[in-house]
């Protein structure tokens, strides 16, 4: 098992242990739905309901070999540095561009990665999050295009367009789709 897979296995196991709903977002979700490219960050969106759960998660993480930076429930993201594998994981409590609700969690998909089952954001929410993030760049638009072009990824267009409309990126989505 590579360092990356081990990092994923460890963080997923920690979140499962603390009964925190989560999903893989960002570049590590991409190969399931789009193209294969290099990415540096492992981003995880975690549904942490309150400060108490957040503190319990950080405490357990420290015990299991993580150093937690920006560890405040007020921050939309905090860094979990895995001292065992040397990798960093960004844990988002309020992920950029993601409408973080019950349906987002309902629609996430489970994939096997290195023998571990990992929840991954749905392709529709992945697309909208990429387009709606405030610091969207060329790479994000390319990621979206690649998801739209994958033959084996079936999209729920009604849901996608509804979410895109709400995020104010439907026109962008249509432009990218049309190329």
């Amino acid at each position: 098992m590579s360092g990356l897979e081990e990092t994923l296995r460890r963080i997923v196991s920690l979140l499962d242990e603390k009964r925190v709903d989560y999903m893989l977002i960002g570049g590590y979700a991409l190969p399931h739905y789009g193209r294969v490219r290099v990415t540096l960050d492992i981003d995880i969106a975690a549904a942490i309901p309150n400060e108490e759960v957040f503190q319990a998660l950080c405490g357990e993480a420290e015990k299991q070999g993580y150093s937690v930076y920006l560890g405040s429930y007020e921050n939309p993201v905090c860094l979990f540095h895995d001292r065992v594998t040397g990798y960093e994981v960004e844990v988002w409590t309020r992920p950029d561009g993601v409408e973080w609700d019950h349906e987002t969690l309902e629609r996430r998909r489970k994939f096997g990665v290195g023998g571990v089952d990992v929840w991954v954001v749905s392709p529709e929410d992945f697309i909208v999050s990429k387009l709606a993030r405030p610091d969207r760049g060329v790479v994000d638009e390319q990621d979206v295009k690649s998801v739209l072009e994958r033959n084996d990824v079936k999209l729920d267009w009604r849901y996608l367009e509804e979410r895109a409309e709400r995020a104010g990126v439907l026109a962008l989505l249509e432009t990218i789709r049309g190329v």
Partner: protein, 129 residues
């Protein structure tokens, strides 16, 4: 430039339909430019050009009105201006090629995630070396 003029015309006639001369004054463009742009827009279904209803004598003025399609077009343009594309057509075509490559991997029974891990591990190993 012509897209910009089209949008100026649409946003003007959406508020109140106008004749060519009036439009030319409002958007500060030559009458000839406005006429040729309106012809194109009319052919594309973005505006209608209709004679003004009047009881005055003489030939009625031609009035330019936005169609529903024209209003949608304007709205889409305005939204795109708020959230402009960061990449260009070539950037997107490159991503399309990348996806086609992954489609071929999948057709051959390869797991894209394996390829992804291989690539990222390689890059990290080189970075650490």
């Amino acid at each position: 430039m012509s897209l910009e003029i089209e949008m100026q015309i649409l946003s003007t006639v959406k508020k109140h339909p106008a004749g060519v001369r009036e439009l030319s004054k409002i958007i500060s463009r030559r009458t000839q430019t406005v006429v040729s742009t309106i012809k194109k827009m009319n052919a594309a279904g973005l505006v209608n050009v209709e004679p003004e209803e009047t009881i005055r004598r003489g030939r009625p003025r031609q009035i330019v009105k936005a169609t529903t399609l024209g209003e949608d077009y304007l709205e889409t343009y305005n939204r795109l201006m708020i959230k402009p594309m960061r990449g260009n057509r070539n950037d997107l075509l490159k991503a399309k090629k990348d996806a086609e490559y992954v489609n071929r991997l999948v057709e051959r029974g390869k797991d894209p995630y394996e390829a992804f891990l291989e690539l990222n591990n390689l890059v990290r190993a080189r970075g650490n070396a």
